[in-house]
Symmetry: C2
Subunit: 311 residues, 2 copies
């Protein structure tokens, strides 16, 4: 009922990062795609098979040094229900390798509908008394524009199954300020207001390291706001996108951490997935090794800023 499992894993690997699994076909080496198309054709099923094989290689190469993966639901849905099947298989495989899995779905709705999303992605689906895990992830990203009605149902499921959620607070994109930076009548920004709500919601899911199971998404591209929010939201764990391809560096993400090197996990998607494309004369079969090398570089770069992670 918190992020304690993730935090332990981060301390164990001394690595506060998460590998984004957003597998566009362009990112996947030809040999994997050709094998998949040979069996299933250039179909949704063939593409989904290529996605899963690509992910499996990455997970094998990363699982002992990177604590978590973050599959982005959109890139699976793009390949229809076959793609969604690949998402399920990816989650299952990553968990079997001991990784913490964050499904980046930015789901949102209210009441029983939000409960359905929470059960789908984090909990258990009941079928006439039979309990089945639909996706079985460890955490889900959530958009809280709808208020507490859209968050409470997820908290309830997290409590029951020891899972967590990350609420969008200050996102990494250029236009995030259109709404999020606006000032409300009490002088606070929308993103700060959303952050404060995370602190309140988190009271129900407090963990043993001082962080609750209600985390916040805060972009690496806004280091000032990252620092402001770290100070203000002392019980809220951050998921930080925007490192690497979107322009954030290790200096930008350093303010996300507390004095023990805890409090945040930094995501890299393209940087890790596409590392093989940057190497010359690489045998594309070594794409996962290239990913591992980049993950090590990223870990060492961040650790050089924040020092040893202490539980």
């Amino acid at each position: 009922m918190s992020f304690d499992r993730l935090i332990k894993k981060i301390a164990e690997t001394q690595n506060p990062t998460v590998a984004g699994l957003d597998p566009k076909l362009d990112f996947i080496p030809d040999h994997i795609k050709e094998n998949a198309y040979m069996v299933y054709g250039k179909t949704l099923e063939g593409a989904a098979e290529a996605l899963f094989e690509f992910n499996k290689g990455l997970i094998d190469a990363l699982c002992d040094i990177v604590p978590a993966v973050k599959p982005q639901a959109a890139y699976y849905e793009m390949y229809g229900w076959h793609g969604v099947h690949a998402l399920r298989k990816t989650i299952e495989y990553a968990k079997s390798k001991g990784m913490f899995v964050i499904t980046d779905g930015k789901r949102n709705d209210i009441g029983t509908t939000m409960t359905a999303y929470a059960k789908a992605h984090l909990g258990i689906t009941d079928i006439e008394g039979e309990s089945v895990e639909a996706f079985g992830s460890d955490a889900l990203t959530v958009n809280a524009y709808l208020g507490t009605d859209g968050v409470k149902p997820v908290i309830d499921v997290c409590k029951e199954y020891d899972k967590g959620l990350f609420v969008l607070v200050k996102t990494s994109n250029p236009s995030s300020g259109e709404l999020q930076d606006r000032i409300l009548d009490d002088g606070l920004t929308v993103y700060r207001t959303m952050g404060n709500m995370c602190e309140t919601w988190g009271n129900d899911l407090m963990g043993e390291y001082g962080y609750s199971g209600v985390g916040a998404v805060v972009g690496a591209t806004y280091p000032k706001q990252l620092g402001e929010l770290r100070k203000a939201l002392s019980h809220t764990f951050f998921l930080v996108p925007g490192y690497g391809a979107q322009g954030g560096g290790a200096a930008d993400v350093a303010p996300a951490f507390d004095e023990n090197g805890l409090g945040a996990v930094i995501n890299s998607s393209r940087g890790i997935m596409c590392a093989w494309k940057k190497e010359q004369n690489i045998d594309t079969k070594d794409y996962a090794l290239a990913a591992r090398n980049e993950a090590v570089r990223m870990r060492d770069e961040i650790i050089s800023y924040i020092g040893k992670i202490k539980l």
Copy 2:
């Protein structure tokens, strides 16, 4: 590249409503579930099969009098990738019967990731030159907390494939005001600000009846705000949830319409799906007939408030 297809269908049926397809197992008559479990067991696949059979019966019973259906993605995801397959089949079947399909997914993300969602639900997925429709819906609900970066990619796909989107503006739930009713420094509420953004975004997708392809979700449970927004957002078509089970009545939704009876489509989910549960001594095989009777009652009630719909 607008809601013209939906508007024509509404005028043709003289019915500004949409039937929500949120098929919880509780809502499905036993004979359908038993048949599905007999073949597939009490599994995700069995549940998904029951969902689809239930929907098929509803679509058959409604397609000549109700212009649109709105499957809620959460209730399909709850049954895993099999459930998502049932979503795909439901969309396909409803379209084959001439209905306009709104996928209620409240998707949100940025840039290429949002493009992936838009292609998944509304557009075409490219697999090495092969064009495949992943879900093929006509419209998608979208949460725009992330700003223009999260909306523009959907607009681009809508332009290309003649589809539409509905942005969450003022949602029907009790806590929607926590953020949406807050006043910004220019004196406008967050929901009004979001509504104004819909008007701006819609300039790119204007249709022949004065409404753009960028609609807004505005709850029936807030009739005052519904009226305010109808006046302020003259080019924005409304999707109105909250009628029936959530407490909104025909008088509450009347302010959503313009003087021609256009400008909005009112959703009923449980009211229609569960109509059979309210009838005594019903043969549960007649669940779809009960749904049709409720759809007729709802149509007539709303039309009695707004009069004949004129194109």
